[in-house]
Assembly symmetry: C2
């Protein structure tokens, strides 16, 4: 029997976070941190509301997860995020020693991947989960912004 | 007449922040953000106290400065930090569009510089201000930790 807890299952939760960002007029990116099939941290992009360029979805999900665990490191955790992490978030994920990072759609311009592997050597990277949905949400946002 | 407000003048303030981190048993790194010769944000490394790998001195100084300004970007601001920013902080400084970054001592292992120029193309980088003092504070900290 297949597990309920697939990468798509948790990416749907990250996508719901991205939808919240969309509703608030923020670039729609959402993230959740999962440990033992349980969401222990989540966040969505709040850079406009907080006037803070560091308030990316991943940063908030990491901080929330470490608060939950009462531990600095996210070993044995997975981050699901709708858009490929930027350099700042890639650097934060490096420090977190997270086991796995799963992202929806690639960020060709700002994604950490363009600089090689910024993550911890022990971090597994998976991409393309719900890619079209994650990409479309961003496209609709930017199309509306341009109008 | 020379200005009172030299890079060393503000690096001394960042150094004081680093000393606070030292007293709390944190890796001693401190930072201040300056606008029009006024400190508008400061911070020191709090990763252990907050159990949060993102709680670097620079991240807190950036967030404090943007809160003070009520603006997302730190154009016309300078960040003074005792240790070269890491990749996460370099990425955050990129997003902030800060005008100038001044650091004390180079971080050969984790410094953003090893990946090329992560900062915004408009950001000026100055290094080596109070280099020996900043380096020594870190050395004393790690020497004590090893004992």
């Amino acid at each position: 029997m297949e597990s309920l807890y697939t990468d798509t299952y948790f990416m749907q939760m990250a996508y719901k976070e991205a939808q919240k960002a969309f509703e608030f007029g923020e670039i729609p990116v959402g993230a959740v941190v999962v440990s033992n099939n349980k969401v222990i941290g989540k966040g969505y992009n709040l850079t406009e509301q907080l006037n803070d360029v560091t308030a990316h979805a991943e940063m908030q999900a990491i901080t929330a997860a470490t608060n939950y665990l009462g531990a600095k490191y996210l070993t044995d955790c997975t981050l699901y995020v709708t858009l490929e992490p930027c350099v700042m978030c890639g650097g934060a994920l490096y420090w977190s020693k997270i086991s796995k990072v799963v992202f929806g759609t690639k960020d060709e311009k700002q994604g950490a991947g363009r600089l090689g592997n910024l993550y911890h050597p022990k971090t597994e990277i998976v991409s393309g989960i719900m890619e079209s949905e994650c990409k479309q949400l961003l496209q609709v946002f930017f199309d509306r912004l341009r109008k």
